[in-house]
């Protein structure tokens, strides 16, 4: 969970009188500071986005993509380090992640095709199921390597070693696409008892004149576009959010998908009716 924010309500202090010279000096210094900052190159904010150096060239060959079944874990956080998987929510959020990611990709002129790897498609094929599990394991290894250094400069690019290996061929071929999309969604939600504890402390703090806002849930989503023949990662991004109410999957998915350039793919235009709103929700 993200740390809670606190705001204090301090008492007003009497102001001292300042001389006119001192005020003038402050104004001059402030103007000078503004002038210096506007002339200096400002560093970009660090970013979790990862892209290949030749993303634009490689993306030109991508017309069709398939979404692999998302890896979704939703945990309820209880007292005493108690963790419970919320499987119903996992199913629902998994469907929503697929829906929202597909909608975003559709807006990028990409044809989104079924990967034919849902549990119903794999029924009875134990070997293919295990190969898919191992493919996800390979993706987890890649993701760990990519993010072990934390956020990075937006200008930094992924090297040739950013690949999950040739085992992806089997699944790219099965789906008949140029790229596969991996999605991972992990969320934590506080139990009713934990939320009750938060409320108790919020009330206690309010009596002391301090307002506390504690998140009751948090979610992280990771989306990756992977070349279906070489296994190379073309583009990967992560986004996280905390919530004071219920988890809003669209919000966090939109933030993860937003930096993917929209004019680099060469796929056929999707039907206009299937294109939802492109706006990123404000936090």
């Amino acid at each position: 969970m993200a740390p809670h924010a606190t705001t204090g309500r301090g008492s007003q202090r009497p102001r001292r009188r300042r001389g006119a010279a001192r005020v003038r000096l402050r104004v001059v210094l402030s103007l000078a500071a503004i002038a210096v900052t506007s002339c200096t190159e400002r560093p970009f904010a660090m970013s979790p986005e990862r892209r290949r150096k030749d993303l634009v060239d490689r993306a030109a060959a991508v017309q069709r993509v398939a979404l692999l079944p998302p890896q979704v874990k939703v945990w309820e956080l209880g007292f005493n380090d108690d963790l419970t998987r919320l499987r119903d929510l996992e199913t629902r959020f998994g469907e929503q992640v697929m829906e929202y990611v597909a909608a975003h990709l559709g807006r990028l002129s990409l044809a989104v095709q079924p990967a034919r790897l849902e549990p119903s498609d794999l029924q009875g094929d134990r070997e293919l199921s295990f190969q898919l599990t191992e493919l996800f394991q390979s993706y987890d290894q890649l993701s760990w390597r990519l993010y072990r250094g934390g956020d990075q400069q937006p200008s930094a690019t992924m090297g040739d070693d950013a690949t999950i290996g040739p085992a992806i061929c089997l699944f790219g071929g099965r789906a008949g696409v140029e790229a596969l999309v991996f999605t991972r969604f992990v969320a934590f939600s506080k139990s009713t008892a934990m939320r009750g504890k938060d409320t108790f402390f919020r009330v206690l703090a309010a009596l002391g004149g301090v307002a506390i806002r504690t998140p009751s849930a948090a979610a992280t989503v990771e989306v990756a576009l992977i070349d279906s023949q070489s296994g190379e990662a073309l583009w990967v991004n992560r986004a996280s959010a905390t919530y004071t109410g219920d988890i809003d999957v669209d919000f966090v998915v939109a933030h993860a998908m937003y930096p993917l350039p929209r004019d680099i793919f060469s796929g056929p235009d999707p039907p206009a009716a299937a294109v939802p709103d492109n706006s990123v929700p404000s936090p």
Partner: protein
């Protein structure tokens, strides 16, 4: 044994120690119902938390099946069932039906779900030396189930350990290459008393079934040698839980005190015959998990038994090749072996510096594999990829084409064809 492995993620989550433990214990004390019995999901006398735990356990079992983690080997499963049969008590608690499964994991940790499903990873089975040790493992897990330990645990501070572990195994390790780290947490979840009870009862049953209890007890030494950092009380999270070294001492003492000179069957040959086929899958799992050092050591162990095993030479080559291509994974493995809990960049630098040596070793081992079996697809593939990496276009073309000719249905066919077309264009 017991539920043991934790992913890094789960360890971190569990490490976020709550200050509400006392309150929960007070609440739990008011809710506790029976002890030592496993109710059915539809058992109306079971408490809500027990029913929820059983429902979750059944979903966990289904998840392991649906992800293809459970090995489909009826012969091996039947063997496990035969070994376990004389160890089981005549009457099982209601709600428990014992079933044995082999799972495709390089982990060394067995675990059981409360409805009676016992899971033995390939990584554990290949490390055991004889049937007596297997019987000890099965007897141990069985004792946990029969004594209702999972239900007791449901009311304890580690109540959701099963869910966390299954979630980790079902994804073959959430933390990817760091999946090797949970070795350190090899024995967790059940408390010290429960583990000792399970070890002691298992030894009694193993002896009653005609196995040599001393040979059975040696299983803890065997596993302790594999687990880095298995020192008593080494991790505060597991400080209430005995280490394998402690359990080994306990088991040896119990054998000396109550079963001295008992003797009995060991059945090393039978065990080896039944499990020999797992060797290759184990090495493949290690390579897939990017534990290249462990894969090489195991393949070299196979070579020590049979130096003319072409497959083992190829496995050694693939381990060297993987280490060269994935220096970060190699660095993680080295750090874990040396008991580090964080990856220092010096390990990565060292692994990167060793990459060219690793490629040379890989090339030599591929050649040895080919000398023994000229039609080994893995050797042609490996030599082709090495040649491609050093820019030797002709050799790459020849070897990769040979690979596809020998393995036309290879899973990486499209990738190899792409390399061939790229080197043809150049």
């Amino acid at each position: 044994m017991g539920v043991c492995a934790f992913s890094i993620m789960s360890m971190q989550m569990l490490r976020g120690a709550s200050t509400w433990r006392i309150l929960v214990l007070l609440l739990a004390a008011g809710c506790a119902s029976r002890s030592g019995q496993t109710p059915r999901v539809d058992d109306t006398s079971a408490s809500d938390d027990e029913r929820a735990m059983l429902a979750e356990a059944q979903l966990s079992a289904a998840e392991l099946e649906s992800r293809g983690i459970v090995l489909d080997d009826p012969e091996l499963t039947a063997y496990l069932t035969r070994v376990a049969a004389p160890l089981a008590p005549p009457v099982l608690p209601p709600g428990v039906a014992l079933r044995y499964h082999v799972i495709r994991s390089a982990d060394v940790t067995a675990f059981a779900l409360p409805q009676g499903d016992v899971y033995l990873p390939i990584g554990l089975l290949v490390q055991l030396e004889n049937e007596a040790q297997l019987a000890q493992v099965l007897g141990h897990e069985m004792t946990h189930l029969v004594a209702g330990h999972p239900i007791d645990r449901a009311r304890s501070r580690r109540r959701k350990a099963v869910a966390v572990q299954v979630a980790s195994i079902a994804t073959l390790g959430v933390a990817g290459v760091l999946a090797t780290v949970p070795y350190r947490a090899s024995v967790a979840s059940y408390g010290r008393d429960q583990e000792e009870e399970a070890d002691a009862v298992a030894l009694d049953r193993v002896r009653a079934a005609g196995y040599d209890p001393a040979a059975a007890a040696s299983v803890y030494d065997r596993l302790a040698a594999m687990i880095p950092g298995d020192e008593p009380g080494g991790d505060s999270i597991y400080s209430t839980h005995p280490s394998l070294t402690e359990r080994s001492a306990f088991a040896r003492q119990r054998v000396a005190d109550t079963m001295s000179g008992a003797g009995g069957r060991v059945d090393a040959k039978t065990y080896r015959a039944q499990t020999a086929a797992l060797d290759r899958e184990y090495v493949r799992l290690l390579l897939q998990a990017q534990r290249f050092g462990a894969a090489r050591r195991y393949a070299e162990r196979t070579l020590a038994r049979d130096p003319s095993d072409a497959w083992a030479h190829c496995a050694v080559a693939r381990a060297h090749h993987g280490a060269a291509d994935n220096p970060v994974a190699m660095a993680v493995e080295r750090a874990v072996l040396e008991g580090q809990t964080e990856l220092d960049e010096t390990y990565v630098t060292a692994a990167q510096a060793a990459a060219s040596d690793e490629r040379e070793h890989a090339g030599a081992a591929y050649q040895r594999c080919l000398a023994l079996d000229a039609r080994a697809p893995a050797a042609h593939r490996g030599l082709g990829l090495l040649a491609h990496q050093r820019g030797d276009r002709d050799t790459a073309q020849r070897e990769l084409a040979q690979y596809l000719a020998l393995a036309p249905d290879a899973a990486d066919r499209c990738y190899i064809l792409r390399l061939l077309s790229m080197s043809g264009e150049n």
